[in-house]
Assembly symmetry: C2
Homo-oligomer: 371 residues x 2
DNA sequence: CGTTTCCAGTTAACCGGTTTAGCTCTTATA
DNA sequence: TATAAGAGCTAAACCGGTTAACTGGAAACG
């Protein structure tokens, strides 16, 4: 298996060029070749430098990752832990992270967090095995064991999208702005009574979305309500069902994820409700699928890929020695208008003729001003 | 940064255990420790072996990936090239591959094939940089430059899901069976006139799906037609539109992917056609989303995760020295019955009163027996 | 004129494993 | 009784880079 030098057999094994080869061709020591190729600022004759660079290019030389890693004590690889690949939100974050990492010549190991204990063990193994320099975590729920482990091992890490308050390691975006924009858009269409289907309350993403929603709705004097506690399709379906059961349902629903919107559309269909005739629907997070739902879904675009890219940048910074600090990605949310939103059909629905909307049949309470 | 031995400062940097540490604790040389921990069959006193094993466990020792890689000339890492992460088909294949790889203590680098030239360059870089031992390719179209590059560099590789005939490196499944099952199911419901919305004709997956469809339809004496050339939502929408434009549209449509089915549902909705009243719809490939479409989509389950796992197995085999050979994953397709399929509404629709169905308004021709 | 400084490099140690060659001691064999 | 054959281990080279320490000569400096 040792392809050192010549292989006298008929199959000329194409062997990688090593640093020594470059050095020999350029007529210098491998030490010098190494330092030149790494762009060190050194007193060196330009002509010598050139010989080395040309030799490296000519031989298509690439430093052996393992050798470099061994000496430097760095691997040039990161892990990215996500809840599931089949959720397009995380697919997009992953895309952004992998792209940026490749630009920076860093490798990314993607891992699905099927079970917290297992994920912790896997990441620890990668760390202990010297396979990664740092970890990006997009799936930590508050009691997840991994952050503590990483803290103890002093492994650089960041939290992406799902953040940990006070950690100084959060890479997030101003989700509030997306919610506020959604509320603005619905209000502008004439809706006076709106609902938000939210995710798990423990997640900071959820909290930001809810906060943005409630704050702006209150500001505009809209009646508003928040339901739901799961970003999935069934979560959206269940929450939507609760809303439709209200004595006075909202005329518009804003979901925290596209998957929830799919669930909401599903129950609407089952109950014979029509969108946007019976209620308007708008979701946070734009995906190609939105255009092919029935009806095509109005949504708020969010820079998920940029979020992944920013996570890589922050983590690479930490590895280089920077102190961990929170990063908030610039958000310029936009409404992608499709066919699931329209002015409310029955203007009185937002303000029922019989005055006050209470009592409410399920454990859901309206907030906001009753004019 | 050198944490060699003791760090006298207050921050006790938790340093990885190395092989020497294990050897010292066990009172043996590191050579022996290495061979024991690698499970070599050697003349060794059981007690000595035990001391080493216990020491390794006690120190939570894990061999440093880079050091091992450097000496062995293997990285213990593979790449997986997929068209896009946001397509759940490839998300599932990736899931299966990553899971199996982690079981085998191998790392997987996931790469999206945004542009063939760029992907080729990236994978080459990984190979040349000694970052991966082999590549899994799930996105090669016939003129993709990567296979040639890998062949030239003598890098082990396999083709997953999208195969290359004659390469002996294909990891695929018997998609034909899924198509045949779909046809059987539709026939059993009473449909006599069915259509298949296919993917790009150059892909072998498409060819297998089409073959299974046409063969079984002919066998059962059904009128059948194949349209479409793209697995995406717009591709499904366009093809469905062509079918609806037929003078005698089919009473059932079988799509090669769930995304195409989404597209088909979309145009049906736009044209006011109802599923399954106006036509039945069944898709190849089961995904959670299917349950939340309107109506919930009947689909054929396929072992996509197993396919990814099998790809890892095959590739690891090649790296260990096996000759490349095609692998066909066991398929036991099942119909997941939901609400998008039903007996045809108008039994005469399958066999129009006016006799022959031609002429056909678009470039689509019916095949099969006219009774 | 002797010494220091700078230029333009080279030598060799080292990272943490794996692996080949070899060494010592006991036991079986001729 | 000499010797070959294991059993049971150790020493050291090696993988391919990086980097601290060093060298020989020319120029600058006091």
């Amino acid at each position: 298996m040792s392809s050192t030098g010549d292989t006298p057999l008929e199959t000329a094994a194409p062997t990688r060029a090593r640093l020594v080869d470059v050095a020999r061709v350029a007529g210098v020591s491998k030490a010098l070749a190494s330092r030149i190729l790494n762009g060190e600022q050194l007193p060196i004759r330009p002509e010598t430098r050139n010989r080395v660079v040309v030799a490296a290019r000519g031989l298509d030389y690439r430093p052996h990752a393992a050798a470099r890693s061994l000496k430097r004590g760095e691997t040039g690889a990161l892990s990215l832990l996500i809840p599931t690949l089949t959720n397009p939100v995380f697919a997009l974050i992953s895309r952004g992270a992998v792209e940026r990492a490749l630009e920076r010549d860093v490798a990314v190991l993607l891992i699905e967090d099927s079970a917290p204990a297992r994920a912790s063990e896997l990441v620890s193994r990668l760390v202990q095995g010297g396979r990664i320099d740092g970890a990006m975590l997009a799936s930590v729920q508050p009691e997840h064991p991994l952050p503590r482990t990483l803290e103890r091992l002093r492994i650089p890490h960041v939290f992406v999208h799902r953040t940990v308050p006070g950690s100084n390691r959060n890479v997030s975006m101003a989700d509030q702005k997306a919610s506020a924009l959604a509320v603005d858009y619905l209000a502008q269409l004439g809706h006076r009574s709106i609902a938000h289907i939210a995710g798990p309350r423990l997640l900071t993403t959820t909290q930001r979305l809810v906060e943005g929603f409630s704050a702006r709705a209150a500001e505009l004097g809209l009646r508003h309500v928040v339901v739901g506690d799961d970003f999935s399709e069934p979560g959206g379906a269940k929450a939507a069902g609760e809303l439709f059961d209200l004595r006075v349902p909202p005329t518009a629903i804003y979901t925290g994820s596209l998957t929830q919107a799919v669930g909401a559309l599903h129950v609407a269909f089952e109950r014979g409700l029509r969108v946007p005739d019976d209620f308007s629907l708008i979701a946070s997070g734009e995906l190609p699928l939105a255009n092919y739902l029935n009806p095509p879904l109005t949504s708020i675009s969010l820079p998920l890929a940029e979020l992944g890219a920013a996570a890589v940048d922050a983590l690479v910074g930490q590895i280089a020695g920077d102190e961990p600090r929170d990063v908030v990605v610039e958000t310029h949310p936009e409404v992608i208008v499709r066919s699931s939103t329209a002015p409310p059909q029955d203007p009185t629905g937002a303000d029922p003729p019989a005055g006050r909307a209470r009592p409410v049949p399920v454990a859901v309470e309206w907030h906001g001003l009753i004019e």
